[in-house]
Protein backbone atom coordinates (compact mmCIF):
# COMPACT_ATOMS: atom_id res chain seq x y z
CA UNK A 1 0.00 0.00 0.00
CA UNK A 2 1.31 3.39 -1.00
CA UNK A 3 1.10 6.30 1.42
CA UNK A 4 0.93 9.97 0.56
CA UNK A 5 0.89 13.03 2.81
CA UNK A 6 -0.28 16.30 1.26
CA UNK A 7 0.52 19.41 3.29
CA UNK A 8 -0.63 17.67 6.45
CA UNK A 9 -1.08 19.76 9.57
CA UNK A 10 -2.30 18.74 12.99
CA UNK A 11 -2.93 20.71 16.11
CA UNK A 12 -4.41 19.79 19.47
CA UNK A 13 -6.10 22.95 20.70
CA UNK A 14 -3.44 25.65 20.61
CA UNK A 15 -0.60 23.18 20.28
CA UNK A 16 0.65 22.85 16.73
CA UNK A 17 2.21 19.42 16.36
CA UNK A 18 2.69 18.98 12.62
CA UNK A 19 2.89 21.72 10.03
CA UNK A 20 2.80 21.32 6.26
CA UNK A 21 4.19 17.81 6.09
CA UNK A 22 4.31 16.28 2.63
CA UNK A 23 5.80 13.00 1.55
CA UNK A 24 5.22 9.88 -0.44
CA UNK A 25 6.16 6.36 0.55
CA UNK A 26 6.05 3.55 -1.98
CA UNK A 27 4.64 0.07 -1.37
CA UNK A 28 7.07 -2.06 0.64
CA UNK A 29 9.33 0.76 1.76
CA UNK A 30 10.57 0.98 5.31
CA UNK A 31 10.80 4.55 6.49
CA UNK A 32 12.21 5.51 9.88
CA UNK A 33 11.15 8.75 11.54
CA UNK A 34 13.62 10.10 14.08
CA UNK A 35 13.45 13.34 15.98
CA UNK A 36 13.25 14.92 19.40
CA UNK A 37 10.68 13.65 21.91
CA UNK A 38 7.21 15.02 21.50
CA UNK A 39 7.84 16.40 18.02
CA UNK A 40 4.77 14.77 16.50
CA UNK A 41 6.19 11.62 14.93
CA UNK A 42 3.74 9.43 16.81
CA UNK A 43 0.93 11.72 15.72
CA UNK A 44 1.89 11.02 12.10
CA UNK A 45 1.48 7.31 12.79
CA UNK A 46 -1.89 7.89 14.47
CA UNK A 47 -3.02 9.82 11.38
CA UNK A 48 -2.11 6.90 9.13
CA UNK A 49 -3.75 4.43 11.55
CA UNK A 50 -6.91 6.52 11.40
CA UNK A 51 -6.93 7.12 15.15
CA UNK A 52 -6.65 10.87 14.55
CA UNK A 53 -7.83 13.11 11.73
CA UNK A 54 -5.55 15.76 10.19
CA UNK A 55 -6.44 19.40 10.94
CA UNK A 56 -5.20 20.40 7.49
CA UNK A 57 -4.17 18.61 4.31
CA UNK A 58 -4.74 14.98 3.41
CA UNK A 59 -3.37 11.57 4.21
CA UNK A 60 -3.95 9.11 1.38
CA UNK A 61 -3.56 5.35 1.31
CA UNK A 62 -3.42 4.07 -2.28
CA UNK A 63 -4.88 7.39 -3.35
CA UNK A 64 -7.88 7.25 -1.03
CA UNK A 65 -8.19 9.50 2.02
CA UNK A 66 -7.95 7.66 5.35
CA UNK A 67 -11.26 8.00 7.18
CA UNK A 68 -10.73 5.71 10.16
CA UNK A 69 -8.95 2.63 11.45
CA UNK A 70 -8.79 -0.39 9.19
CA UNK A 71 -7.14 -3.77 9.80
CA UNK A 72 -5.00 -3.28 6.68
CA UNK A 73 -3.15 -0.53 8.56
CA UNK A 74 -1.99 -1.70 11.94
CA UNK A 75 -0.04 -0.11 14.75
CA UNK A 76 2.41 -1.66 17.21
CA UNK A 77 2.74 0.30 20.45
CA UNK A 78 5.75 0.70 22.70
CA UNK A 79 4.49 -1.61 25.44
CA UNK A 80 1.53 -2.48 27.66
CA UNK A 81 -0.72 -2.78 24.63
CA UNK A 82 -1.37 -6.48 25.17
CA UNK A 83 -4.50 -7.29 27.14
CA UNK A 84 -3.50 -8.49 30.61
CA UNK A 85 -6.64 -10.61 30.94
CA UNK A 86 -5.89 -12.66 27.83
CA UNK A 87 -3.25 -15.34 27.35
CA UNK A 88 -0.58 -14.65 24.73
CA UNK A 89 -2.42 -16.89 22.28
CA UNK A 90 -5.75 -15.18 22.93
CA UNK A 91 -4.10 -11.78 22.52
CA UNK A 92 -2.81 -12.73 19.07
CA UNK A 93 -6.09 -14.42 18.12
CA UNK A 94 -8.09 -11.34 19.05
CA UNK A 95 -6.76 -9.49 15.99
CA UNK A 96 -8.55 -12.06 13.81
CA UNK A 97 -11.60 -12.50 16.02
CA UNK A 98 -12.36 -8.78 15.75
CA UNK A 99 -12.56 -9.31 12.00
CA UNK A 100 -15.09 -12.08 12.33
CA UNK A 101 -12.80 -15.10 12.11
CA UNK A 102 -14.14 -17.92 14.29
CA UNK A 103 -12.55 -18.37 17.68
CA UNK A 104 -11.23 -21.81 16.89
CA UNK A 105 -9.63 -20.83 13.61
CA UNK A 106 -8.18 -17.64 15.11
CA UNK A 107 -6.62 -19.63 17.95
CA UNK A 108 -5.11 -22.16 15.56
CA UNK A 109 -3.55 -19.44 13.41
CA UNK A 110 -2.38 -17.59 16.52
CA UNK A 111 -0.55 -20.69 17.67
CA UNK A 112 1.33 -20.78 14.37
CA UNK A 113 2.25 -17.13 14.68
CA UNK A 114 3.52 -17.52 18.22
CA UNK A 115 5.69 -20.34 16.98
CA UNK A 116 6.90 -18.06 14.20
CA UNK A 117 8.18 -15.50 16.76
CA UNK A 118 9.80 -18.25 18.88
CA UNK A 119 7.17 -18.38 21.60
CA UNK A 120 6.16 -22.01 21.20
CA UNK A 121 5.16 -23.36 24.61
CA UNK A 122 4.10 -19.95 25.97
CA UNK A 123 0.59 -19.93 24.46
CA UNK A 124 -1.20 -20.09 27.79
CA UNK A 125 0.98 -17.61 29.66
CA UNK A 126 -0.42 -14.22 30.57
CA UNK A 127 1.51 -11.08 29.58
CA UNK A 128 2.60 -10.31 33.15
CA UNK A 129 4.24 -13.73 33.40
CA UNK A 130 6.69 -13.22 30.53
CA UNK A 131 9.53 -10.79 29.81
CA UNK A 132 9.22 -7.47 27.99
CA UNK A 133 10.92 -8.95 24.94
CA UNK A 134 8.43 -11.82 24.81
CA UNK A 135 5.55 -9.38 25.13
CA UNK A 136 6.81 -7.41 22.13
CA UNK A 137 7.25 -10.62 20.13
CA UNK A 138 3.60 -11.32 20.90
CA UNK A 139 2.69 -7.79 19.84
CA UNK A 140 4.50 -8.36 16.53
CA UNK A 141 2.65 -11.65 16.01
CA UNK A 142 -0.63 -9.86 16.75
CA UNK A 143 0.23 -7.21 14.15
CA UNK A 144 1.37 -9.61 11.41
CA UNK A 145 -1.41 -12.18 11.82
CA UNK A 146 -3.85 -9.74 10.19
CA UNK A 147 -1.57 -9.50 7.11
CA UNK A 148 -1.37 -5.67 7.24
CA UNK A 149 -0.42 -3.71 4.16
CA UNK A 150 0.83 -0.85 6.28
CA UNK A 151 2.71 -1.50 9.49
CA UNK A 152 3.13 1.39 11.89
CA UNK A 153 5.70 0.91 14.64
CA UNK A 154 5.68 3.41 17.49
CA UNK A 155 9.00 2.86 19.29
CA UNK A 156 8.23 -0.83 19.38
CA UNK A 157 11.42 -1.80 21.20
CA UNK A 158 11.96 1.39 23.17
CA UNK A 159 11.43 -0.27 26.52
CA UNK A 160 13.78 -3.21 25.91
CA UNK A 161 17.44 -3.73 26.76
CA UNK A 162 19.97 -3.40 23.93
CA UNK A 163 20.54 -7.12 23.28
CA UNK A 164 16.86 -8.06 23.32
CA UNK A 165 16.21 -5.11 21.05
CA UNK A 166 18.72 -6.35 18.45
CA UNK A 167 17.25 -9.85 18.53
CA UNK A 168 13.79 -8.41 17.98
CA UNK A 169 15.00 -6.15 15.18
CA UNK A 170 16.09 -9.32 13.39
CA UNK A 171 12.72 -10.97 13.95
CA UNK A 172 11.00 -7.85 12.66
CA UNK A 173 13.26 -7.68 9.62
CA UNK A 174 12.54 -11.26 8.63
CA UNK A 175 8.81 -10.73 9.01
CA UNK A 176 8.94 -7.58 6.91
CA UNK A 177 10.95 -9.31 4.18
CA UNK A 178 8.42 -12.15 4.07
CA UNK A 179 5.30 -9.99 4.01
CA UNK A 180 6.48 -6.76 2.38
CA UNK A 181 4.21 -4.25 4.12
CA UNK A 182 4.90 -0.54 3.89
CA UNK A 183 6.46 0.34 7.23
CA UNK A 184 6.67 3.59 9.16
CA UNK A 185 8.95 3.24 12.16
CA UNK A 186 9.16 5.88 14.87
CA UNK A 187 12.29 5.42 16.94
CA UNK A 188 14.71 7.26 19.19
CA UNK A 189 17.41 4.76 18.40
CA UNK A 190 19.51 6.01 15.47
CA UNK A 191 21.16 2.60 15.08
CA UNK A 192 17.77 0.95 14.84
CA UNK A 193 16.78 3.40 12.10
CA UNK A 194 20.03 2.78 10.21
CA UNK A 195 19.75 -0.98 10.53
CA UNK A 196 16.13 -1.35 9.46
CA UNK A 197 15.18 1.55 7.24
CA UNK A 198 15.36 2.26 3.51
CA UNK A 199 14.84 5.93 4.26
CA UNK A 200 15.48 7.88 7.44
CA UNK A 201 13.59 11.13 7.96
CA UNK A 202 15.09 13.43 10.58
CA UNK A 203 12.52 15.74 12.16
CA UNK A 204 12.89 19.10 13.89
CA UNK A 205 11.31 19.95 17.22
CA UNK A 206 7.58 20.78 17.27
CA UNK A 207 5.92 21.60 14.91
CA UNK A 208 7.55 18.70 13.12
CA UNK A 209 9.33 19.47 9.88
CA UNK A 210 11.69 17.21 7.96
CA UNK A 211 15.25 18.50 8.32
CA UNK A 212 16.87 15.93 6.06
CA UNK A 213 16.19 12.59 4.39
CA UNK A 214 18.76 9.79 4.15
CA UNK A 215 18.38 7.00 1.62
CA UNK A 216 19.73 3.50 2.11
CA UNK A 217 17.78 1.57 -0.52
CA UNK A 218 19.60 -1.58 -1.70
CA UNK A 219 22.10 -1.59 1.16
CA UNK A 220 23.07 -4.92 2.68
CA UNK A 221 23.09 -4.36 6.43
CA UNK A 222 24.24 -6.09 9.56
CA UNK A 223 24.27 -4.92 13.15
CA UNK A 224 27.83 -3.73 12.50
CA UNK A 225 26.89 -0.33 11.21
CA UNK A 226 30.44 1.00 10.86
CA UNK A 227 30.08 1.69 7.13
CA UNK A 228 27.24 4.09 7.95
CA UNK A 229 29.38 6.06 10.39
CA UNK A 230 29.17 9.24 8.32
CA UNK A 231 25.36 9.17 8.10
CA UNK A 232 25.12 8.26 11.76
CA UNK A 233 27.24 11.26 12.71
CA UNK A 234 25.18 13.55 10.49
CA UNK A 235 21.86 12.34 11.93
CA UNK A 236 23.10 12.78 15.48
CA UNK A 237 24.34 16.25 14.61
CA UNK A 238 20.91 17.16 13.24
CA UNK A 239 19.35 15.93 16.46
CA UNK A 240 21.65 18.26 18.36
CA UNK A 241 23.96 15.66 19.84
CA UNK A 242 27.68 16.26 20.11
CA UNK A 243 29.73 13.90 17.93
CA UNK A 244 33.20 15.42 18.28
CA UNK A 245 35.54 15.86 21.17
CA UNK A 246 35.97 19.54 21.83
CA UNK A 247 39.61 20.63 21.58
CA UNK A 248 40.60 23.43 23.85
Amino acid sequence: MQLRFEEVGKHFGQLEVIKGFSGEFAQGELVALVGPSGCGKSTLLHLVAGLEKPSAGKVLADGRPISGPHPSRTLVFQEHALYPWLSLQANVAMALELQGVSRQEAFELAQGWLERVNLKGFEDYYPHQVSGGMRQRTALARAFIAKPEVLLLDEPFGALDALTRMALQDVLRELIEEHQPTVLLVTHDVDEALYLADHVLVFSARPAKVLQTFNFTHCEKSHDLSEFAAERREILRLLGIKTEVAHP
Binding site: A49, L51, L75, F77, M94, L98, Q99, Y126, H128
Partner: protein
Protein backbone atom coordinates in the same frame (compact mmCIF):
# COMPACT_ATOMS: atom_id res chain seq x y z
CA UNK B 1 4.54 -9.91 39.97
CA UNK B 2 6.33 -8.40 42.88
CA UNK B 3 5.83 -9.52 46.46
CA UNK B 4 2.79 -11.60 47.30
CA UNK B 5 0.53 -9.34 49.37
CA UNK B 6 -2.46 -11.66 49.62
CA UNK B 7 -2.87 -14.33 52.22
CA UNK B 8 -3.67 -17.55 50.45
CA UNK B 9 -4.48 -21.15 51.23
CA UNK B 10 -4.66 -22.57 54.77
CA UNK B 11 -3.50 -19.36 56.48
CA UNK B 12 -6.50 -17.49 55.13
CA UNK B 13 -8.90 -20.14 56.37
CA UNK B 14 -7.31 -20.07 59.83
CA UNK B 15 -7.85 -16.29 59.92
CA UNK B 16 -11.51 -16.67 58.97
CA UNK B 17 -12.08 -19.40 61.56
CA UNK B 18 -10.45 -17.24 64.25
CA UNK B 19 -12.71 -14.32 63.35
CA UNK B 20 -15.82 -16.52 63.62
CA UNK B 21 -14.66 -17.92 66.96
CA UNK B 22 -14.06 -14.40 68.26
CA UNK B 23 -17.61 -13.31 67.40
CA UNK B 24 -19.13 -16.44 68.92
CA UNK B 25 -17.05 -15.97 72.07
CA UNK B 26 -18.39 -12.44 72.60
CA UNK B 27 -21.93 -13.69 72.08
CA UNK B 28 -21.53 -16.57 74.50
CA UNK B 29 -19.87 -14.31 77.08
CA UNK B 30 -22.90 -12.00 76.87
CA UNK B 31 -25.21 -15.00 77.27
CA UNK B 32 -23.38 -16.13 80.40
CA UNK B 33 -23.51 -12.72 82.04
CA UNK B 34 -27.13 -11.87 81.15
CA UNK B 35 -30.31 -13.74 82.15
CA UNK B 36 -31.52 -16.33 79.63
CA UNK B 37 -34.68 -14.51 78.57
CA UNK B 38 -32.58 -11.48 77.53
CA UNK B 39 -29.69 -13.22 75.79
CA UNK B 40 -29.91 -16.89 74.88
CA UNK B 41 -26.68 -18.86 74.48
CA UNK B 42 -25.38 -20.44 71.30
CA UNK B 43 -26.68 -24.00 71.92
CA UNK B 44 -30.25 -22.81 72.56
CA UNK B 45 -30.27 -20.74 69.38
CA UNK B 46 -28.78 -23.56 67.31
CA UNK B 47 -31.49 -25.90 68.55
CA UNK B 48 -34.14 -23.38 67.55
CA UNK B 49 -32.56 -22.97 64.16
CA UNK B 50 -32.59 -26.70 63.57
CA UNK B 51 -36.29 -26.77 64.44
CA UNK B 52 -37.07 -23.73 62.28
CA UNK B 53 -35.38 -25.15 59.21
CA UNK B 54 -37.80 -28.08 59.37
CA UNK B 55 -40.86 -25.80 59.43
CA UNK B 56 -42.42 -25.25 56.00
CA UNK B 57 -43.47 -21.72 56.90
CA UNK B 58 -39.91 -20.65 57.79
CA UNK B 59 -38.50 -22.21 54.63
CA UNK B 60 -41.09 -20.47 52.48
CA UNK B 61 -40.28 -17.16 54.13
CA UNK B 62 -36.60 -17.72 53.49
CA UNK B 63 -37.28 -18.58 49.86
CA UNK B 64 -39.38 -15.42 49.52
CA UNK B 65 -36.57 -13.30 50.93
CA UNK B 66 -34.03 -14.88 48.59
CA UNK B 67 -36.20 -14.39 45.52
CA UNK B 68 -36.79 -10.71 46.40
CA UNK B 69 -33.06 -10.30 46.90
CA UNK B 70 -32.33 -12.13 43.65
CA UNK B 71 -34.67 -10.03 41.54
CA UNK B 72 -33.65 -6.71 43.06
CA UNK B 73 -29.94 -7.48 43.02
CA UNK B 74 -29.78 -8.84 39.48
CA UNK B 75 -31.78 -5.89 38.22
CA UNK B 76 -29.26 -3.56 39.88
CA UNK B 77 -26.30 -5.50 38.47
CA UNK B 78 -27.65 -5.39 34.96
CA UNK B 79 -28.47 -1.68 34.99
CA UNK B 80 -25.44 -0.75 37.07
CA UNK B 81 -23.08 -2.40 34.62
CA UNK B 82 -24.93 -1.00 31.60
CA UNK B 83 -25.10 2.57 32.87
CA UNK B 84 -21.57 2.37 34.24
CA UNK B 85 -20.10 1.28 30.91
CA UNK B 86 -22.03 3.80 28.85
CA UNK B 87 -21.30 6.54 31.40
CA UNK B 88 -17.62 5.75 31.26
CA UNK B 89 -17.52 6.17 27.49
CA UNK B 90 -19.79 9.20 27.00
CA UNK B 91 -18.38 11.80 29.29
CA UNK B 92 -21.23 14.32 29.27
CA UNK B 93 -23.66 11.58 30.23
CA UNK B 94 -21.13 10.49 32.85
CA UNK B 95 -21.21 13.83 34.67
CA UNK B 96 -25.01 13.85 34.71
CA UNK B 97 -25.16 10.29 35.99
CA UNK B 98 -22.47 10.84 38.60
CA UNK B 99 -24.16 13.96 39.99
CA UNK B 100 -27.52 12.20 40.08
CA UNK B 101 -26.03 9.23 41.89
CA UNK B 102 -24.23 11.40 44.45
CA UNK B 103 -27.51 13.14 45.28
CA UNK B 104 -29.69 10.03 45.33
CA UNK B 105 -27.14 7.93 47.19
CA UNK B 106 -27.29 10.28 50.17
CA UNK B 107 -30.89 9.16 50.77
CA UNK B 108 -30.97 5.97 52.85
CA UNK B 109 -32.71 3.39 50.70
CA UNK B 110 -35.12 2.56 53.52
CA UNK B 111 -36.41 6.16 53.39
CA UNK B 112 -38.11 5.34 50.09
CA UNK B 113 -40.29 2.68 51.67
CA UNK B 114 -43.31 4.87 52.59
CA UNK B 115 -43.40 6.30 49.08
CA UNK B 116 -43.06 2.98 47.27
CA UNK B 117 -45.49 1.29 49.62
CA UNK B 118 -48.22 3.73 48.68
CA UNK B 119 -47.36 3.98 44.99
CA UNK B 120 -46.82 0.26 44.38
CA UNK B 121 -49.03 -1.22 47.02
CA UNK B 122 -48.38 -3.81 49.71
CA UNK B 123 -46.43 -6.72 48.27
CA UNK B 124 -43.14 -7.88 46.82
CA UNK B 125 -42.61 -4.98 44.47
CA UNK B 126 -41.70 -2.15 46.90
CA UNK B 127 -39.15 -4.39 48.63
CA UNK B 128 -37.59 -5.43 45.31
CA UNK B 129 -37.37 -1.82 44.16
CA UNK B 130 -35.72 -0.72 47.41
CA UNK B 131 -33.19 -3.56 47.12
CA UNK B 132 -32.47 -2.69 43.48
CA UNK B 133 -32.06 0.99 44.32
CA UNK B 134 -29.66 0.26 47.16
CA UNK B 135 -27.49 -1.99 45.00
CA UNK B 136 -27.60 0.08 41.81
CA UNK B 137 -25.59 3.07 43.05
CA UNK B 138 -22.36 1.38 44.15
CA UNK B 139 -22.54 -0.88 41.10
CA UNK B 140 -22.91 1.93 38.57
CA UNK B 141 -20.33 4.13 40.32
CA UNK B 142 -17.59 1.53 40.48
CA UNK B 143 -18.10 0.38 36.88
CA UNK B 144 -18.18 3.99 35.68
CA UNK B 145 -15.03 4.98 37.54
CA UNK B 146 -13.25 1.90 36.23
CA UNK B 147 -14.39 2.53 32.66
CA UNK B 148 -13.01 6.04 32.90
CA UNK B 149 -9.56 4.74 33.77
CA UNK B 150 -9.31 2.04 31.09
CA UNK B 151 -5.89 2.50 29.48
CA UNK B 152 -6.14 4.47 26.23
CA UNK B 153 -3.57 2.20 24.60
CA UNK B 154 -5.88 -0.79 25.12
CA UNK B 155 -8.68 1.05 23.38
CA UNK B 156 -6.44 2.28 20.55
CA UNK B 157 -5.02 -1.19 20.00
CA UNK B 158 -8.50 -2.64 19.53
CA UNK B 159 -9.58 0.21 17.25
CA UNK B 160 -6.50 -0.36 15.12
CA UNK B 161 -7.44 -4.03 14.86
CA UNK B 162 -10.79 -2.94 13.49
CA UNK B 163 -13.02 -3.30 16.56
CA UNK B 164 -16.56 -1.97 16.28
CA UNK B 165 -18.11 0.04 19.12
CA UNK B 166 -19.89 -3.00 20.44
CA UNK B 167 -16.69 -5.08 20.24
CA UNK B 168 -14.83 -2.34 22.10
CA UNK B 169 -17.35 -2.53 24.95
CA UNK B 170 -17.52 -6.29 24.98
CA UNK B 171 -13.86 -7.18 24.38
CA UNK B 172 -11.96 -4.27 25.95
CA UNK B 173 -14.01 -2.19 28.39
CA UNK B 174 -15.87 -5.05 30.05
CA UNK B 175 -12.84 -7.25 30.82
CA UNK B 176 -10.76 -4.20 31.74
CA UNK B 177 -13.25 -3.10 34.39
CA UNK B 178 -13.92 -6.62 35.65
CA UNK B 179 -11.84 -6.33 38.88
CA UNK B 180 -13.66 -3.16 39.95
CA UNK B 181 -16.94 -4.57 38.68
CA UNK B 182 -16.66 -7.52 41.04
CA UNK B 183 -15.64 -5.33 43.97
CA UNK B 184 -18.64 -3.17 43.13
CA UNK B 185 -20.88 -6.23 43.01
CA UNK B 186 -19.72 -7.27 46.47
CA UNK B 187 -20.34 -3.76 47.79
CA UNK B 188 -23.72 -3.73 46.08
CA UNK B 189 -24.58 -7.07 47.62
CA UNK B 190 -23.94 -5.68 51.11
CA UNK B 191 -26.24 -2.76 50.37
CA UNK B 192 -28.90 -4.99 48.82
CA UNK B 193 -28.87 -7.34 51.78
CA UNK B 194 -29.21 -4.55 54.35
CA UNK B 195 -31.98 -2.95 52.32
CA UNK B 196 -33.81 -6.28 52.01
CA UNK B 197 -33.83 -7.03 55.73
CA UNK B 198 -34.79 -3.52 56.77
CA UNK B 199 -37.51 -3.20 54.12
CA UNK B 200 -38.96 -6.55 55.16
CA UNK B 201 -38.91 -5.51 58.83
CA UNK B 202 -40.66 -2.28 57.97
CA UNK B 203 -43.17 -3.53 55.42
CA UNK B 204 -43.79 -6.85 57.07
CA UNK B 205 -44.78 -8.65 53.94
CA UNK B 206 -44.31 -12.30 53.11
CA UNK B 207 -42.94 -13.94 56.27
CA UNK B 208 -39.37 -13.34 55.09
CA UNK B 209 -36.28 -13.10 57.24
CA UNK B 210 -36.82 -9.45 58.13
CA UNK B 211 -40.47 -10.02 58.99
CA UNK B 212 -39.67 -13.06 61.07
CA UNK B 213 -37.01 -11.08 62.97
CA UNK B 214 -39.32 -8.13 63.59
CA UNK B 215 -42.09 -10.45 64.76
CA UNK B 216 -39.78 -12.25 67.21
CA UNK B 217 -38.87 -8.85 68.61
CA UNK B 218 -42.52 -7.83 68.97
CA UNK B 219 -43.30 -10.89 71.08
CA UNK B 220 -39.98 -10.59 73.00
CA UNK B 221 -38.80 -14.00 71.78
CA UNK B 222 -35.07 -13.42 72.12
CA UNK B 223 -34.12 -16.90 70.94
CA UNK B 224 -36.06 -16.15 67.75
CA UNK B 225 -34.32 -12.79 67.39
CA UNK B 226 -30.87 -14.28 67.75
CA UNK B 227 -31.76 -17.18 65.47
CA UNK B 228 -32.85 -14.80 62.71
CA UNK B 229 -29.75 -12.67 63.15
CA UNK B 230 -27.63 -15.80 62.91
CA UNK B 231 -29.39 -16.91 59.72
CA UNK B 232 -28.93 -13.44 58.23
CA UNK B 233 -25.21 -13.49 59.03
CA UNK B 234 -24.68 -17.03 57.74
CA UNK B 235 -26.49 -16.44 54.46
CA UNK B 236 -24.75 -13.14 53.75
CA UNK B 237 -21.35 -14.62 54.47
CA UNK B 238 -22.04 -17.63 52.30
CA UNK B 239 -23.17 -15.53 49.35
CA UNK B 240 -20.40 -12.96 49.64
CA UNK B 241 -17.45 -15.08 50.66
CA UNK B 242 -18.27 -18.27 48.81
CA UNK B 243 -20.36 -17.46 45.74
CA UNK B 244 -19.03 -14.00 44.83
CA UNK B 245 -15.48 -14.79 45.92
CA UNK B 246 -15.38 -17.97 43.83
CA UNK B 247 -16.81 -16.10 40.88
CA UNK B 248 -14.11 -13.47 41.30
CA UNK B 249 -11.28 -16.00 41.37
CA UNK B 250 -12.69 -17.66 38.30
CA UNK B 251 -13.15 -14.52 36.23
CA UNK B 252 -9.92 -12.86 37.38
CA UNK B 253 -7.90 -16.03 37.03
CA UNK B 254 -5.16 -14.10 35.23
CA UNK B 255 -4.46 -12.09 38.38
CA UNK B 256 -3.93 -15.18 40.48
CA UNK B 257 -1.39 -17.01 38.31
Amino acid sequence: MSQQRRLTGPKKYVAVVLAVLFILLIWQAAAWSLPDFLMPGIPTVLERMQAAVQEAQFREGLLGSMSRLGSGYSFALLFGIGFGLVGGVLFFFREILRSAIVILQSIPSIAWVPLFLIVMGFGNLPIIVVVALAAFFPMALSVMNATESVQPVHVSAARVMGASRWQLLRRVYLPAVMPELITGAQLAFGNAWRALISAEMLIGFGQGLGRSLAYSGEIADMTGVMMNILVIAILATLIDQVVLEKFKQRVLRYQYV
